[in-house]
């Protein structure tokens, strides 16, 4: 399974010599557990028993910035590759060990350093799990406002590395809108505070240039982030739109009218069924099958039948996708579900909810009341923990989050959906809305009974889908990042401005020891 330690032994000895106090593990369990993140392409390989084809040399746990600097200094002289690791829940292969690499787990750096309610700021270390940070802030009556569905299995450092977005991004922004300064250890071993001058400072914003760098320019060790009073009031409501395009148009008007809802989600025809029936207990496979076999055919399917039916459905995704299109109006009488929520000061919430309601009704929305909104709210973290159940049911699942300005959005939706359709069963929702555009979140499922064939199918699907997204003028990622899975599309994404990223890399990591391969840079 994992390669035995041979020539690597000497390097490990060197590391222990150089940093005798550093916590290091080269235990086989750790080397397998840390070999990769939750990239579904890797999960398909796991199904075939290839758990850690390129295991790391070891895992290290630095306890402070000074120790991390020493690790970087050691890597510079030894030539070892360092891969930053938070909670390992990335879905793009951003934290993948290469043979002989050193995994740097930052979760020892998990303190909230300072809470400054009088400045609406918090300072926290990069290894803190999102949920813990939010919990700590809640105790002070504050919120960060960052709620990715991975909240319980992702770290602040991971958010900053990938330009993460939470479910309330329309109100609180993405992580890059929240961060005002970072402490970074660059690939040269220099410790940099990126934005100590509150409000800007001179020259380019290193804060914005390090956020999203996925560990390729430096390790983020601490961050100062904006915080808000915990909301005193919250409203949620559901609306139905006959077509997904009509719902999009309504959301555009809402955002451009100057309203700032906390939650904006619009599900396409099939995702609507899933959204309305999803619960924490039922696996996504169950729900998916309930949706097709249960709801559409009107029969309650037994579990063993579900598994069979899943294979039938996924064997011909193109047919299934077409069938859903045809059946869409019957699937949900209310059309496409749209969830709108507001939170914060009661007066602002009430005023916005009133104005927003008028706008949505004027745009052709059907008022579905509060229930669909609160149903979503109750189950908002459920989806992130269902992946493995799908894989054990013999299916691969993945998600793709793209974004574009409004003028290109429906074209982006149609193009990507069409590109995925021949390979997998596909559905989508629109979330993370801005005045100038919106993101689209595609979920898809394909057959994974034969791991090798599935991986091929999976790779082809991604190539087609990424090409379709860039052709339609969208970005290939809104908040998951690039990692290694989309690295080969960075030229299409950035054109010749990619040269600027290469310049940053050669400046901050001249020895190329930091997470090489992510973002398409060596």
């Amino acid at each position: 399974m994992t390669a035995p330690l041979t020539s690597a032994d000497s390097r490990l000895a060197q590391l222990r010599d150089a940093l005798p106090d550093l916590r290091v593990s080269s235990h086989v369990t750790d080397r397998i557990a840390y070999a990769r993140d939750l990239w579904p392409g890797g999960q398909i390989e796991n199904l075939g028993g290839k758990y850690a084809p390129e295991p790391p040399l070891c895992v290290v746990w630095p306890r402070d910035t000074a120790e991390l600097v020493k690790i970087v200094e050691w890597a510079k002289t030894s030539g070892a590759v360092l891969v930053p690791f938070g909670a390992g829940s990335g879905v793009c292969g951003g934290t993948m060990a290469g043979t002989g690499s050193v995994i740097v787990d930052l979760k020892q750096l998990d303190r909230v350093t300072r809470i400054e309610p009088e400045n609406n700021l918090v300072r926290a270390q990069a290894g803190i799990v999102g949920w813990h940070l939010e919990d700590r802030l809640n105790m002070e009556g504050l919120t960060l406002g960052h709620f990715p569905s991975s909240l319980m299995c992702s770290t602040l450092g991971g958010y900053l590395a990938t330009r993460s977005a939470g479910q309330c991004s329309s109100l609180y922004g993405k992580i890059e809108d929240m961060a005002v300064s970072l402490e970074v250890v660059t690939g040269t071993g220099e410790v940099l505070e990126t934005g100590r001058d509150m409000g800007g400072g001179l020259g380019p914003s290193w804060t914005q240039l390090f956020i999203g760098s996925e560990g390729s320019l430096g390790f983020v060790t601490e961050a100062t982030l904006k915080v808000h009073p915990a909301p005193e009031h919250r409203v949620m409501r559901g609306y139905g739109f006959r077509r997904v395009s009509a719902g999009c148009e309504a959301i555009r008007r809402l955002m451009q009218a100057g309203l700032r809802p906390s939650v904006v989600r619009l599900y396409d025809e099939f995702d609507t069924v899933l959204a309305r029936s999803s619960t924490e207990k039922g696996s996504e496979a169950d729900t998916l099958l309930d949706a097709i076999t249960g709801r559409v055919k009107g029969s309650g399917a037994l579990p063993w039948l579900k598994r069979q039916a899943l294979q039938v459905v996924l064997a011909r995704p193109d047919l299934t996708n077409r069938m859903i299109e045809e059946l869409a109006p019957r699937v949900s009488a209310d059309g496409c579900l749209c969830i709108i929520g507001y939170e914060g000061d009661r007066r602002l919430v009430e005023a916005q909810a009133g104005l927003g309601h008028e706008e949505l009704i004027r745009s052709g929305g059907k008022d579905l009341g509060e229930e669909p909104g609160w149903h979503w709210f109750k189950h908002r973290y459920a989806v992130s923990y269902k992946q493995s159940k799908m894989f054990t049911s013999g299916a691969f699942v993945d998600t793709m989050e793209v974004a574009a300005t409004w003028d290109r959005l429906m074209d982006l939706y149609d193009s990507v959906r069409k590109a995925i359709s021949p390979f997998a069963f596909v559905m989508a929702h629109f979330s993370h809305a801005y005045p100038e555009g919106c993101s689209i979140y595609f979920s898809f499922a394909g057959p994974a009974t034969d791991p090798a064939a599935s991986r091929q199918r999976y790779d082809r699907l991604w190539s087609k889908a990424l090409a379709a997204a860039t052709r339609a003028g969208g970005t290939i990622s809104h908040h998951h990042g690039v990692g290694r899975s989309k690295a080969h599309f960075m030229t299409e994404e950035h054109g010749n401005s990619l040269r600027l990223l290469q310049t940053l890399k050669s400046t901050f990591d001249p020895a190329s020891i930091l997470n090489p391969g992510v973002l398409g840079i060596p």
Partner: protein, 477 residues
Amino acid sequence: MSVPRSEITGQLAEAVGPENLSSSSVDTIAHALDFWPRALMESRQGAWPRGPQWVVWPGAAAEVSHVLRIASSYALPVIPYGGGSSMVGGASPRGDRPWIVINCKRMCNILDMDEVSMVVHVQSGIVGVELEERLNARGFSLGHVPTSMTTATLGGWLSTQSAGMLSSRYGRVGDLCLGVTAVLPDGQVVHTRVAPRRATGPELAHLLLGAEGTIGVITAAHLRLHRLPLHRWFDTFRFDEVAPAMDALRRSLAAGVRPLVARIQRDPRLRRQDRDEDAAEPTEAELALRVLLMAYEGPSELVEAEREIVRDLATARGGEPLGPAPARRWWGQRFAAGFRMTPLLVQDCLFADYVELGATWRDLPGLYNSLEEAFDKRGWRTRIAVEHARLEGASLGCAFWGEAASPGLALEAYDEAWNLAAEVCHAGGGGLGHVYGGGQHRAALVDASSKQRLALLTDVKRKLDPAGIMNPGVLGT
């Protein structure tokens, strides 16, 4: 080093067309100085600087590219030039080398207007007010209104990360920018791609935003727009001192209020130049008072809720509501304060400038008071306002002026004032110079942490600009 001037002139003429190239003294003198008060003060002694060797007016990115290739091959320093209204020497040649000024103002077209997404694609040489008027004609506004509005260009704003008087609602100009086109020193034209948000690596436009022309020449940008409001609302609250006004404002922003304008200053009705003819001289007590000026736009129901929140927070902290009039009066005169540079040129012993520093809310009252006190002690006049309020802090904008016994002493006083401001700023936890950029001036005054960040800019610049042609001498490069 001898430079083959006529050879270069010929090549530049080829690049932009002979009609768009000049070495005549009319043009080189006009491009010799920007609005940096120190340089203006020096020049009033008759020492008008020599200016650039060449001024070129390219009409497109391809022509800029051609000019930069020429500059690179002869290692000639280049200044990307917009309105020439830099207050920090960012747009004036320095040293004895023959400079090329690239005047971008011919690149002043709106390239595309996406009214569905509310995004405009526009060239960088357009003057601010012209862009705004053209947007207004179609029912939109950029929402970026610095006092340099009638002088500065979009390219200048982007290069200095300018903050306008509506920054509390619409952010700095970089917050409005979705992507840029820029020409790098070797002539390559790069476009950063447009998306509402993305997660595909660092936002690369940020290497050019705020770089003050040291990395490349920005030739166009995609910008977010806002609907031109049909109505604006104003409110004013009077406080005995500055700290409770700051507290009320900070809490309002935390509650989610998004004001169009939020500033704390002296009552605008007391300003000498703005006062009614027959009004009595303000008393010391009146001058000691501070007012919180608020303006709003947006849907009226939402604005009503915002005003109510601010009213409650302000009155609970001793703020006395003065109604809309004082704030509306400030709004009416919002451009009056800026760019009164002529007195500096004609009054030999006058010195003046504008210090701006940023800080978090906790440090602001202390900085406000210590800055005022330090300047008062030396008998210099000041006018301090809290501006660019945001969730975590705000800026202090401090106009200072005074008269010295001689022109030489005026320069000394000017430098002393800046050193003093820097000292007060760093001791009080503030950051210096974040609205106008650094240019030649501010970069020397910043603290060690800022110097480290600027040193990294030099590192990046070395890779993209090995000949060192791009605006050398600004931002410590």
